[in-house]
């Protein structure tokens, strides 16, 4: 940083900017970046938001039951096409699992009953939201840990850079 400050001075760009200016510049760049990120996220969500239901016809007349059915299908993984839910997939197994969900709902079973039925057979992997267990706590806490590391790194870099130019520059002294 000191070197670039000197170079600026040498090019005759006038007095070096105060540290506050540099911080503010960094801050506004960060804000612009985050805004862009949020905007693109919002656009993505707006486009993909409504679930693309693969089933043409409704399973239940009652809208509340239909909603429950769709929500359940949305959180169960299709095990053949592993990056899709059974709501997204038309693989034969996904069809069978949807039928199973329908039948269990008609038999009056609760959502938890159905989730338990699935995990007893296919393991936690069938759930798109894995439960918090000793094996998955790292998975769940990873986003927070990574965010803290990133924020920490940014803070360290910003502090280092903002502190450095305070040292008196021999060229500036003249």
């Amino acid at each position: 940083m000191r070197r670039s400050g000197r170079a600026e001075a040498a090019r005759g760009n006038g007095a070096p900017r105060p540290d506050a200016g540099r911080l503010a510049e960094f801050g506004s760049a960060l804000v612009a970046f985050l805004t862009a990120l949020l905007l693109s996220l919002a656009v993505t969500l707006a486009v993909t938001g409504p679930a693309f239901a693969i089933e043409a016809e409704r399973a239940f007349e009652d809208p509340a039951l239909q909603k429950r059915y769709e929500d359940l299908n949305d959180e169960l993984r299709c095990l053949v096409c592993q990056n899709q839910t059974i709501a997204d997939s038309n693989a034969p197994l996904a069809q069978d699992l949807r039928r199973e969900v329908r039948e269990m709902m008609r038999a009056g079973r609760t959502d938890d009953d159905i989730r338990q039925f699935m995990t007893e057979r296919y393991g936690d992997f069938v759930l798109y939201k894995p439960p918090m267990t000793a094996r998955t706590y790292l998975l769940w806490s990873a986003p927070v840990i990574l965010l803290l590391i990133a924020l920490g790194s940014v803070a360290v870099i910003v502090l280092k850079r903002s502190r450095k130019p305070i040292e008196p520059d021999p060229e500036e002294a003249t």
Binding site: D96, R121, G123, F125
Partner: protein, 183 residues
Amino acid sequence: MWRYLGPLIGVLALGAIFAVTLARIGTGELDVREIPSPLIGKPAPQFELPSVQDENERISTAALAGRPWVLNVWGTWCPGCRQEHDTLLRISSDSVVPIIGLNWKDERSLAMQWLTQLGNPYTKVAFDPEGDVAIDWGVYGSPETFLVSAEGIVIAKHIGPMTEQIWREKFLPLLAEKSGGGA
């Protein structure tokens, strides 16, 4: 010095992990699609289904209790099942353990044709066109092969075509262990 070496070592370490994992997938040692079965160590799900060959014959797990048996899930639409078929025939010729077939989401006529043309390695073949029993067993991709102990506990599962090696190294030792201890 460390300023440059640090990140370099980091990248190399990540690359090494990446390469080793890819190599393990390449040799088949690691199967990223394989889902560990929650069924291992649990009682085998019970079923009673009609036989593929005879609609009136019922095949039930209750009749198999008291000795170890193998469940092999297959369908004529499944390429891996064709691939493992000769191995199953070989294994069944040893008659160490009965192999029960579970014909999954298939058509009866096609299944019969398959067994006539390619040979029948199964002691009995149960017919599950709806796939209900397959769901109870947590089947998600055939072929899948389960080993059930004499006590009716699922003690092993193999996903994908059965091979001589897997039979010898994974299934037979478990079988010997169980029958040796029980008898």
